[in-house]
């Protein structure tokens, strides 16, 4: 079995994000980069499946040379191969999906697994775009995976509950928080990973379909009217809630 895990490198969620002068990008200085939290569930699930079914796992990311850090982490966790599709381009979800699909056409994985969205651009579009490009079924926001005979039974989240979906390989799964508990890489493996080879391949350009016009810091602040912690204050608060 061949598994392709797609990983995105994103700013740590506590990082301070400031737009650059050009207003089309962010200032990367001083930002700590991590593996997209949702992709951690994808890596872990791939490792669990590989342990059961003798599968080989390839981790792939689209990005610049600095993406080596997240790929080394993936290798330290136990993926067998690491690939960087080298591109300085940022935030073009369609182009990223296209390059993943092109790689998948050559690799022919049985399973493609990735996080439901990346916490930088939050487009949630890559899994479905890949599904359309490869004509392989997608089950998204998956919180439980079971292999039953030759079939896959997947639990996915919807607004007010869950659905159980049956499908078969090859398929694409996008992972939801709670699917598993991602492991931490062990120090000996981290050291070994430093010496492993990461394959670098060329990025294929596609037409740019969307355009960024402006980035500004979102001012989340509101005019907080404070009420005192008295009966009168509580009444005021209730009044404001009920209106």
């Amino acid at each position: 079995m061949k598994i392709l895990v797609c990983i995105s490198r994103v700013p740590d969620t506590t990082a301070s994000i400031i737009p650059n002068e050009d207003k089309h990008s962010i200032d990367e200085n001083g930002i700590k980069y991590i593996i997209n939290p949702y992709d951690e569930y994808a890596i872990e699930e791939a490792l669990l499946i590989a342990a059961k079914f003798d599968a080989s796992i390839t981790a792939l990311t689209v990005g610049g040379g600095q993406n080596q850090d997240v790929m080394r982490t993936a290798l330290a966790l136990g993926v067998h191969n690491a690939v960087i599709v080298k591109s300085e381009l940022k935030n073009d979800s369609y182009a990223i999906a296209y390059n993943i699909a092109e790689y998948a056409k050559k690799m022919n994985p049985d399973l493609i697994i990735l996080g439901r969205q990346s916490v930088d651009f939050d487009s949630m579009q890559i899994p479905a775009s890949i599904s359309a490009m490869l004509d392989i079924p997608l089950v998204s926001v998956v919180s439980k995976i079971d292999f039953v005979d030759n079939k896959l039974m997947l639990q996915r989240d919807i607004e007010n509950g869950i659905e159980v979906i049956q499908t078969k390989l090859p398929c694409i799964i996008s992972t939801q928080k709670g699917l598993n508990i991602p492991r931490y890489p062990k120090l000996p493996n981290i050291l070994k990973a430093k010496k492993k080879i990461i394959e670098i391949i060329e990025f294929k350009l596609t037409e740019n379909k969307t355009e960024i016009l402006d980035f500004e810091i979102l001012n989340q602040s509101r005019n907080g009217t404070m009420f005192p912690n008295t009966d009168k204050g509580i009444e005021e608060l209730i009044r404001v809630i009920k209106n």
Binding site: Q125, S143, D231
Partner: protein
């Protein structure tokens, strides 16, 4: 000599639940009617295998000119591929330029799939869509809600998913100057559309749907009462459940509380939980970390109670009280 303007056709995808328009679909109709007021835009709508009569009544008061009831046996069981190719057939036959979805779990997979097979640009989860002169500009929250991005689609065919606000769907919310014309929309064409879907096989099937109907879910509720680590222990959430019930609202939770196992993942609000947009969001014992606020920033009213007067939530709320949540909450429940 009269010259015909080039009209653009906008299609609204209306999700249904058990055959009837969902709350988010109704909100999408109102929102889209307010965006596409320009006469150059024809607003249309479609549903998949919906029951007929009720849906028409809800669409008729707005600016929608055509309503397509897409029907096909292959669409009986939800399939991203079948729905997407059905809509593509409709788009080709009706010359649709723009398709708009609401931000719901299923639409977030349909929208990009359809955009890909139509070769259309796609912008997801837009918090607003507005015309600036003749250009359609979308605003999106990115980097966990820290940055507001203004973006536009460069291709002719365009797909958007919109974060619709949870408000009471009200015909008067459509611009009042147009209300008269809108109420007399007797020109709504109701059309059955049967796609061919040749060579399409469903490759995955929904074998079971488990809806938690006992609890109001946070994505749909008008009021969400949410608790954080300040609640001290899982048991204390019973006060929140009581308040939520009195207000006809849903119970939400911060990430810390879900990670601690006090509340289920389905209640988590925030960057790795759900992004919601209720009328009223009440944050109890929640400090207001940016990842949490990212999930509620488009809420109409945010109310916070926390015993720490320096909690970040207080600069991000509309109303607040500094108080020990375990002392004040029972009082509120008594007085409300």
């Amino acid at each position: 000599m009269l010259r015909e303007k080039y009209m653009k056709n906008v299609l609204l995808y209306l999700e249904t639940e058990e055959g009837y328009l969902s709350k988010s679909s109704k909100e999408l109709i109102v929102t889209a009617s307010n965006i596409f007021k320009n006469e150059e835009y024809n607003l249309m709508a479609c549903t998949i295998n919906a029951k007929e009569t009720n849906n028409i009544k809800e669409i008729a008061p707005y600016r929608i000119k055509k309503y397509f009831r897409i029907q096909h046996q292959l669409l009986e069981n939800y399939s991203i591929k079948s729905i997407s190719y059905s809509i593509r057939e409709l788009c080709v036959s009706e010359n649709i330029d723009i398709i708009i979805f609401a931000t719901t779990a299923k639409e977030m997979e349909l929208a990009p799939y359809i955009a890909t097979i139509l070769n259309a640009g796609y912008l997801a989860d837009c918090v607003s869509l507005e015309f600036k002169t003749n250009l359609l500009i979308a605003k999106r929250h990115i980097y966990g809600g820290k940055i507001l991005a203004q973006m536009q689609i460069k291709t002719e065919k365009q797909v958007y998913s919109l974060r619709v606000n949870s408000t009471r769907v009200d015909p008067t919310r459509v611009d009042s100057t147009e209300k008269q014309e809108v109420n007399n929309n007797i020109n709504l064409e109701n059309i059955n559309f049967i796609p061919q879907l040749s060579d399409i096989k469903n490759d995955s099937i929904v074998v079971e749907t488990k809806l938690d109907k006992s609890r109001l879910n946070i994505s749909d509720a008008n009021i969400v009462v949410s608790g954080g680590k300040g609640m001290q222990e899982a048991n204390n959430f019973k006060h929140i459940e009581i308040l939520a019930e009195k207000l006809n609202g849903a119970v939400g939770a911060s990430r810390a509380v879900v990670d601690a196992g006090w509340r289920p993942q389905s209640e988590q609000v925030g960057q790795t939980g759900k992004t919601i947009s209720p009328n009223i969001y009440i944050a109890l014992g929640i400090s207001g970390a940016i990842q949490h606020v990212a999930g509620i920033s488009t809420s109409k009213k945010i109310i916070a109670i926390n015993k720490d007067e320096n909690a970040p939530i207080f600069s991000m709320c509309d109303y607040g009280i500094v108080a020990d949540i375990l002392e004040i909450l029972p009082k509120i429940n008594k007085m409300i």
